[in-house]
């Protein structure tokens, strides 16, 4: 054991910068009358999304899960009449480890009643401009479909998995080992990380909005064009910072999505997750029309401090590895 192993992985300057950032965030929301809340990290229900793996633990002979985001409890508060709310939450995700990933990290998540996803994107931009203070900052915005058309001359809404494979070959994209030739979303995701995101302005923020319905997650579908979901993400360069939805409020559809995701888990040999029945009941009783977004605080701090590895902005990042 090295005698310096007890030391934090983040510099004290960065730890102070984090405190300042959290203060500024709280000031931003206090000004707008958005209420700070806390919700449980431990829950008997979990995300069913096959791409998100929860940590689990036991208490009195029952399984509990550490949340991957505070979304479900916060929506239950909204349905109970809380009004606009935000939370600074520690969240946990299995198997996420790398220069931009740690299995435990901090999310800022907030919900605004009466806003659609475009209005919430505007507020997210205002928050970042507020946090950036007098430093120069630039924002761009492009729809998922436009980004694919521009970068790859391909319509992601009409293309099938075969078209996407051909497009990858045409653009000399390396094909990862283990690709499922019939899984359209897998190919969209690969082209997204290998071709689309790397083409974003490397020195500025980019909003990507209106994802294909197959990638709706918890967003409602467009009424005008149900092939689209009202979901957005925010990037700096190709680094993903935030994910937001014009929230799905239909309990029936939410239940169907949970069941579909669990079916996919079963098919892939993953453990199925207990869906949040309380959330479904809350949606049934009525979720106000709202949008919500989750912003990665550690990655934001990487941008502010110029850190190349997320471990350098987390006080004790690497004890377990």
């Amino acid at each position: 054991m090295n005698s310096h192993d007890w030391q934090p992985t983040a510099d004290l300057v960065v730890i102070r910068e984090r405190a300042r950032l959290l203060q500024r965030i709280r000031a931003f929301f206090a000004e707008r009358n958005v209420l700070e809340v806390e919700t449980p990290q431990l829950s008997p229900a979990a995300m069913t999304d096959p791409q998100l793996e929860s940590f689990s633990c036991r208490f009195r002979q029952a399984d509990y899960y550490l949340h991957t985001s505070p979304e479900f409890y916060m929506k239950r508060l909204l349905a109970a009449g809380s009004g606009d709310i935000y939370q600074l939450a520690r969240v946990f995700r299995q198997d996420e480890l790398g220069p931009d990933h740690r299995p435990e990290f901090t999310l800022l998540e907030w919900y605004r009643i009466g806003m659609d996803h475009h209005q919430l994107m505007q507020e997210l931009e205002q928050l970042i401009r507020f946090l950036w203070a007098d430093r120069p900052v630039s924002f761009e915005s492009i729809s998922y479909r436009q980004a694919f058309l521009q970068q790859l001359q391909l319509d992601p809404l009409t293309a099938d998995a075969g078209d996407l494979q051909q497009c990858a070959r045409r653009h000399h994209v390396e094909i990862p080992q283990g690709m499922d030739t019939t899984d359209k979303d897998m190919w969209l995701d690969w082209l997204m990380v290998d071709k689309i995101a790397p083409a974003f302005n490397p020195g500025g923020f980019t909003f990507l909005y209106d994802y294909p319905a197959s990638q709706a997650a918890l967003a409602r579908l467009s009424v005008e064009d149900p092939r689209l979901a009202h979901r957005f993400e925010l990037f700096y360069g190709e680094l993903e910072l935030a994910n937001g939805f014009y929230e799905l409020s239909d309990a029936m559809e939410q239940q169907q999505r949970f069941e579909k995701e669990n079916a996919l888990r079963r098919q892939r040999g993953q453990k199925t997750m207990p869906m949040d029945k309380h959330l479904l009941a809350a949606l049934q009783s009525g979720l106000p029309d709202c949008s919500g977004v989750a912003l990665g605080i550690d990655r934001l701090l990487m941008l502010i401090t110029g850190a190349k590895d997320i471990g350098a902005v987390i006080s004790f990042a690497d004890e377990m590895f």
Partner: protein, 189 residues
């Protein structure tokens, strides 16, 4: 057959790719926000030394390469093979010239070398970082010229030729860095 899942990937892990043993140099997780994750991996092919890049869908399993580094003592060279012995088990292996790369020229016997074994057979042999060898052939030394630059070739008892300062005499023992092939110092006898 042993295999590793992408979530076990880390620097130094040995994988079998296209039949060749490779060692992971760097492993990066890339993820499009929500959705499928991928691992971008930089590896060194341990047979050719070449660096390559591969991407895997996260969750994929890749066959492990049975590669281990063992400290072994050099015994002798019979013109075809180089023989090494494990000083604890007395087990012997024979390394072909191709596994020696540049290491053979530094060995005269009894040196402790790092032998990389793949499925039990020597894949690569690294000489000790520093060796001490006597000069068998060099031009006569220039007395008094101990400080100024200027070098001359000297042949060592193991067969290697290194550049040495002009004052070095035949019979002197030198310390040499095998990684750079450079003279370090004289060894006081």
């Amino acid at each position: 057959m042993a295999s590793y899942s992408t979530n076990e990937f880390r620097g130094g892990l040995k994988l079998l790719l296209d039949g060749d043993p490779c060692s992971i140099i760097e492993n990066e997780l890339v993820k499009p926000g929500k959705g499928q994750a991928f691992n971008r991996v930089k590896l060194r092919n341990l047979k050719t030394g070449r660096v390559l890049e591969r991407t895997f869908k996260s969750g994929e399993s890749v066959e492990a390469a049975d590669v281990v580094d063992v400290e072994m003592e050099f015994s002798y060279n019979d013109g075809e093979f180089w023989y090494f012995m494990d000083p604890e088990t007395y087990e012997q292996v024979a390394a072909p010239d191709t596994a020696m790369v540049d290491s053979g020229q530094w060995l005269k016997g009894q040196e402790l070398c790092t032998v990389t074994l793949w499925d039990g057979a020597p894949l690569m042999v690294s000489a000790p970082n520093f060796v001490e060898l006597a000069v068998t052939e060099t031009d006569p030394g220039l007395k008094g010229d101990t400080a100024q630059g200027g070098t001359k070739p000297a042949k060592l008892e193991s067969g290697a030729v290194v550049k040495v300062p002009l004052f070095i005499e035949e019979g002197e023992v030198l310390k040499v860095d095998t990684r750079s092939g450079e003279y370090v110092s004289r060894v006081k006898s």
